[in-house]
Symmetry: D2
Subunit: 342 residues, 4 copies
């Protein structure tokens, strides 16, 4: 009884010596998302972290998966010898480096918005670029050279809305009201006065009010492909928490199904990373996990039949780095859960 | 250099030297709202705190306005010699003690829901009981023997919606979507597992999803009096902050006015405790102050004209104790701002 | 490349079918520590969770390691068929159930203080009960039927002090000043007013001031065995965080070694769960990990040579459930890291 | 019913009607301390805020005391027509502007460390500059042209230690251990990665370990004047709260007085801004108030008689802006409490 798992673990280690691991690099490695990516890659059974590029931190090191990794400048990243690159560079700056990585022969998962639907660069050399909402896009991922990884808000909203939009239940011409609240890591790692502890603690605020958030085009473009004929009105809020998004979505429908959860239960049956539950999902349920957790309730006391959908995820995991690894797994032929915390 | 308001304040102080102070008692004095009431009364230039009743804390003392006050049992409260009683007793338990205070001859501001619209006890001896949303109710307050002080969520929602409902701009038959988030003091002082620090910190959750919150009847009943023909769909959330409510309200309208803020600017012109502002209000703007702070924006990119209204208040001040004192001031003929933090 | 780890994982699962897993039960399973224990056992490669007993939660279920577990009453726990029992019952209540589990033939790791040094029940049937500060006690663990798992504060303080106490460097007769700060989960799961979010947030306080903390006897008793002739003055504080302890320890010494870290580097060389580092350890470094992280600095500008030692740990992991599993691993002959998050 | 203090307060108000208000300016007005100063001055019955200078914010406005104030550049501040200037400029940058204000004829309270004991500029034109620990320095304040306002940590530590140091009770040659923890506003308003919400929340850390904090010279210099012959070993910590400092101070003594609190009760009898209490002071007790709250307990179970002193204050109030106004009141002949929140 004693040594069982240990023997097994040694076997795994021996085995790992024999098999080829995929050489993976991370651009923009020192931000919140970049660090999460490095940590996931470093612990991934099929991946090897060959570089972590972060210009401002170059020469400094950080610990990922029990190993010290020294940041290099992007210019010095060995793109030629990398099979897969994750780019967590800022929006606008990422496209150029994605191009360089592609030219060097690497496949790319881009976590910026540069290639997402609703943005200028959604095709490359005439070919449209897959949008990596894994559960809804996985058919095209194995052949993809470049995948646009969805934003954190879009992932929560689109995974939550997809079953309803596809079902024909959404009232034509209606407005879907999305109120979402995000932890501060969603705003990135660059210090700004409004992200300091003393400004965020004990506060709560809406921003981009009136449907003006920069990720709205991404939500609307992909939602249009999913079906229905509804408008989306999106109001984001900043929460005094480090990580997590909760979206509270109000959907006018033509009728409420007998089991209000049935659209989600049917669409996501067997999905390891979408949890459909009876109780309202909370941030605590999802942080540090690569899942979207969804519930839905029919509204009482209103004449227009309406479903309130709740969706929670960790903005750095299923909303960024976790889904990026999930997409990479699909691209590389690994099981989607490989290297991802359940 | 000596300004008008200063002279006014000094006149008020001189006046206070001459007049009899009003004897005021607080029932349910040891909870969050009760303590806030005691603090306000103790510092009020026209009021004297003659008792603070709290059965479980009786014999213990607390410091209000620089003075130690010993809690008494409700049974021992000198109702007979009290001119005005605030009851911060729990819903259900308050009605009986309001009756006793009234029999003893005291006027009462009841902070429970027992006498609010949409609840059973909205009339007493055949007379309807005023609902103390001060800005909208002040005409009937001077003669009132008993005033039902609004709940925290209802205050935020109704002050925010009143100008639109009265304007005729709300789309008939539409659903108004209210997403509100409250700090934990809104849930009261009684220890419960879900209110412990380790459960609340770094979390965010919706509750009473599907339009089932117990204060919804209060909101709907009073909203119906304000005008319009819309339904309300209310989803409350629990925030990891101590105090403050932010309501994000989506209202389908027949048209958006040229100045989207004009309904609020017109309705609340000159009101010291309603702030109509261009930027989104935040909790930081309102905590420890007796104000509702409101903004509104027309939604872009939706076919149905829609206004997003934001309203913030401190749930213990304008949402409870502050408004209760504001109502008491109106009942007693004092200036409404007397004793209230701007 | 594709299926390597997967094959390996399947091999492990097959293997696990063949090997006997140790049947493990948890008493007091619904508190913070109990839940952490259940989660660790459920994911442990050599253990199987055969019961989770929690009287007040009996019949309810919780999810551990991807599996729903229903709490049973302690009376209904199948102690007879359990090889190892963790008791996370409250101090005072645990001893009785530890006795029952022992009578039923199970080996026990007791997380209460009932059998710790400095408490009445430190021997059983004349045999002294090992104190499971694993790094310092592991010699006696393989043969132990019952191990007293250290408290969270004692673990931080004793692991930090042991190398100095054993070195002879501590000034004889001196007072060692220990200021420690703990997150609120250290105070347990039972709701109390002072642990509510609105009381803890934005606050910080000392308690048990003047050397009166109930775990002080445990610290002093074991410290005396480690060597030296110093007194300990311990002042605990409550932090507005969910988990984590930081101890700041001031030790008058006869001389400061050339490398101030050398006592710790030597004592803990090769230890997987003690990290000796140059920079001050923080809570962020240790939460959700089964480690004590230690640093030390010689004080400048004081006549008496003095070393400031800093030690951080997660009170629920290395300070409770993690160390309990580490002890159980040592008792059962498993590698100490089995089932524990690095 | 009309109490003494009330009459006093009204007399003060009447007095204010007759007198000229003092023209006051604030340099460095946009940081945490500068804003707190502007708010205090704006509400002060004897002061008028004639400028608020903040180079980076010039042209922007903020609301203080119910009035919008527009920030000017320091160069444009009307120093000539200002009777008293508060400088909240950064350490190093303040000295020059203090010089300019003095040349223009203004009296100055400098909140930087530039003129504090232990720093280079502690005398001006041969005259030593008073250190404005008001309770201990007020004799020299009325005639002072320039007062160095103490740092937040030094205020807590020195107000707490003064009675013991003066009493002769401190053990000669002993080391006094000061462990202090501060909220993040103590680190200033400039955005830095380590002050972002996601870095500070759920964390706690020591810094400047080993007696290397830049304010230590200030503490030691002034402590030496207070008496005794002890060394001080100071270890600061960063708390996940916005404001407040708690210092836990361990003092070896020759004997413990019968009433351990007697040194503080005697020294601070009648002081409005020092509270000597039996229970451990907490941040909650002091935030937004201009007080130091102190308790002390004799340590049990140690051979060397030792007193544990606890002191709490709001780092922006009694630790900065509040004490600055208290000093200005003493300089200008106003009652010390004028304009300060009790």
């Amino acid at each position: 009884m004693v040594a069982g798992a240990l023997v097994d673990r040694r076997q795994m280690q021996c085995y790992a010596l024999l098999v080829h691991k995929v050489a993976v690099g991370v651009l923009g490695a020192s931000g919140y998302t970049g660090r999460e990516l490095c940590a996931l890659v470093a612990r991934h059974p099929e991946m090897e972290l060959v570089f972590a590029a972060a210009n401002e931190q170059r020469g400094k090191s950080a610990r990922f998966g029990g190993r010290d990794v020294t940041f290099v400048a992007s210019e010095d990243a060995p793109l030629q010898s990398t099979e897969l690159v994750f780019s967590a560079l800022p929006h606008g700056a990422s496209a150029e480096w994605v191009g360089r990585a592609r030219e060097a022969g690497a496949r790319v998962v881009d976590l910026s918005s540069d290639f997402r639907p609703g943005n200028p660069g959604t095709s490359q050399n005439g070919a449209s670029i897959p949008y990596g909402l894994t559960e809804l896009s996985r058919g095209v991922l194995p052949d993809a050279a470049l995948v646009a990884n969805p934003g954190c808000y879009p992932t929560a909203v689109l995974i939550a809305l997809a079953p309803l939009l596809a079902s024909g239940l959404v009232l034509p011409g209606a407005t879907i009201t999305v109120n979402a609240a995000s932890g501060v890591t969603g705003a990135g790692f660059t210090p700004r006065p409004e992200l300091m502890f003393a400004q965020v603690a004990e506060d709560f605020r809406a921003y981009a009010v009136g449907n003006t958030h920069r990720h709205l085009a991404e939500i609307k473009s992909f939602a249009a492909k999913l079906g229905g004929d509804a408008d989306i009105l999106f109001t984001p809020h900043l929460l005094p928490v480090s990580r997590g998004i909760l979206a509270t979505i109000t959907v006018p429908v033509v009728r409420v199904p007998d089991n209000v959860l049935s659209p989600w239960l049917e669409t996501y049956s067997g999905e390891p990373f979408v949890e459909v539950v009876a109780d309202p999902p909370t941030l605590r349920d999802v942080v540090h996990r690569n899942v979207v957790r969804i519930s839905a309730v029919a509204a009482a006391g209103v004449r227009q039949p309406t479903i309130v959908v709740l969706a929670a995820l960790d903005n750095l995991m299923k909303g960024a780095a976790g889904q990026a690894v999930q997409n990479a797994n699909a691209m590389l032929g690994f099981p989607e859960p490989a290297g991802l915390p359940a």
